[in-house]
Symmetry: C2
Subunit: 348 residues, 2 copies
Amino acid sequence: MGDRVARDSPTLEDVARAAGVSRATVSRVINGIRNVDPAIQDVVRRAISSTGYVPNRAARSLVTRKAGSVALVVSGAGDDEGGEARGEVLGDPFFGRIASGVVGYLSPRGMHPLLMLADSAEARRQVVAYLRQGHADGAVLVSTHAADPLPAQLVEAGLPAVLFARPPRPLPVSYVDLAHRDGARLAADHLVARGCRRVATITGPLDVLAAADRLAGFREAMARHGHPYVPDAAGDFTQEGGERAMAALLLTEPDLDGLFAANDLMAQGALHVLREHGRRVPDDVAVVGFDDSSAATACRPALTTVRQPIEEMAAEMTRLLLDRVGPQPGRSLASVIFEPTLVVRGSA
Amino acid sequence: MGDRVARDSPTLEDVARAAGVSRATVSRVINGIRNVDPAIQDVVRRAISSTGYVPNRAARSLVTRKAGSVALVVSGAGDDEGGEARGEVLGDPFFGRIASGVVGYLSPRGMHPLLMLADSAEARRQVVAYLRQGHADGAVLVSTHAADPLPAQLVEAGLPAVLFARPPRPLPVSYVDLAHRDGARLAADHLVARGCRRVATITGPLDVLAAADRLAGFREAMARHGHPYVPDAAGDFTQEGGERAMAALLLTEPDLDGLFAANDLMAQGALHVLREHGRRVPDDVAVVGFDDSSAATACRPALTTVRQPIEEMAAEMTRLLLDRVGPQPGRSLASVIFEPTLVVRGSA
DNA sequence: TTGTATGCGTTATCAT
DNA sequence: ATGATAACGCATACAA
C-alpha cells in the first residue's frame, strides 16, 4: 500500500495526507464549512494547491444527488425534419442571445449549461431521459413553436424547468415573458406620432401567443388613436414570410405609409420588397420591427424596433431555475414579465 | 432492511430484485455485454421498463472514470470585456452553425455538449478547471481570435481537444480547417470569368491565419489571371469594418468593378456602401463573399459566396474528439481539411 | 453464463 | 473542532 503509484489525479485522501489531517477536514475546508481552525484551513489550502487537487464531480454528485449543472433546451419544430431544420433553429439570431444570457449568468457562478436540442418526438424522449439520468438538475427551456409537448413532459417527470414565454396551456412551471402588448403599443404610438395615417401590420403565426398578443396590442393602440381598421397579412417570423406578406399588403393597400412587423426578420424582408417596389423607407413608408435582433442593425436603413431584452430575460430564467435547484431548493413558482422599449433608428 | 421506503429513483439493485437476478447481470444487459442468456436478457429488460430504471450517471462515471460528455468551448476576445462582447460572440451566425454541427453529431449518439465561453483569462482558468473536474472528457474548441492561449492550456492539462482551424503555432492537437486558398481562388476565378477587370478585396484581420490565407490565395489566383495588382483594404470581419473598408476602396479605386470580401458580414457592409454611392450590384460592381452565412441570403442582392461547410466541419471535429475519448481511446492526432465550394447568387 | 465482492472519491453522520 | 466510518450506485475482476 505504501508504494502507491502516481495516480492521474490527486484525491481528497492525498490532500489530507499532505496536510496531515483527515479527509473530512479537507472536505470541510473545500465546502466552506465553518468550525474549522483558521490555521488548519491555511495548511489545507496550501496542500490543495501544492497537490493540484480538483474535486471529482462524479463522486461528489453521487452523494449529494445533484449534478451541479443545468440544461439549456431548445425545442425546435415538429417531429419530422432533420439536419436542415436544426441549422435554422440554432442559427436563429434569437438563440445566440438566449445562450448569451444563460451563459452570462452561469459563468460567474462557475457553472456551464448543457446544450440540448429537442426537435423531434425521439429527441424529446432523449432529453427527458438524459435529464432523469442526472446530467443536469433542471432545464431552461425555449420553445420555438406552439403546442410543444416538452414543457408538460418535463413537469410530469418532476424535472425543474423554467420556460421562455408563458405556456399555451397553464402548467405548474416558472417562466419569463415580455409584455408583448405594451411593445406593440410602443410601435403604434411611434408610427402615429410620426404622422402615419394608413398603417398595416405583418403578424407572426397566430397560434404563437406572442404573435397573437403583438397583433392584439397593436390593434388596441391603433384603435385608441382613431384607427379602428388595421390591415394585416400573416407571416411566419421568417424573412421570406415577411417578403410574401409585404407583397400581399402592397396589393391590397398600395397607399400604406406605415408598417409594423411582428419581428425584425419579417421587417427586413418587408424592407426589401418595399425597395423593389420603389417605396422609400422611411419617407414613403415607415417601418417598425420587433426584437431588436442583429437583423435590425444589419438592415439599411437600420430598423426602428421594439427591443426585447432577451439576454436579461434568459439570465432571469437561469436565476429562477437555480432558485429551484440550488442549496435551499425553493418549491415556489414565479413568472417575471419584462417591459419592452422602443429603439429608434432609421426606418421609422 | 426489508421495509425499505420507496426511493425517488430505482437502482440497479431494484431491477435485479424484480428480475430475480444479480446486479451484475442487469449491468451486463444494460451495457450490451454478450454472454448473457437471451431469455434472461428479456426478463431483465422487462424489469427495467417496469421499474422505470435509468442508470445513474454519477455512479457510472465514478467507476468508469469517464464523463460521457464533451464540451463545446467558444473562446472569445481578449481578457478585458464583459457582457456586451459575449453577446457578440455567441450572437455571431457562425456560432449557431458550429453548435448545430456539434449537436447534430452528438444527439443521435445520446450525447449533449457542455457549452462554455472563455472570453477572459479568468474564464479560461475556469474552463480548464471545470474540465479537469471531469465534467467532460474533452473539448471541441473554436477560437475567434489569434494568439488564444486556451488551446495550449488544454493540451498542457492533458485534456483531449479538437480545434476549429489550425493553431497559429504548432500544437499536438487535432483540428479541422478549410482550404482557404482554394476558396479564394474560386472567388477570383468567378470574378474574372464574369469579366471583371478592376478587382479589389477587403481582408479580414491578417493575424488570423484564415484571413491571411484567403488574401494570399486570392492574390495568387488573380496573378495567374494576369492581374498582379489587387488593391486591398483591411476589415475586421464585422459589417461596420466592411463598410469602412469599402468606403476607403471607393476613394482609391473609384472605377473598380469587382470585389472579394473575406467574409459575408463585410460583404454585406460593402453592399450598403456601394448602394449609397450609386453603384449597382452586380452590374457596376460584382461582389463575392465568403462563408455562406445567413447574412448571404439576407442581403439584396443575395450574395454569391464561397461556402464553408461549417456544420460538417463541426461534426467532424466532434467525431475526431469522440475518437480520442471513446471506448477505445485512440491517441492519434489528425487534421482534416475541407474543400470550399462556390455558391452563386445575385451579387456576382 | 451467472453471482459475489470490491472500490471508485465524496459527503455526511456519528463519535470524540 | 476534528476524525472514523458508512453510504451513494455502478462496473468489473474473480469465483463458481
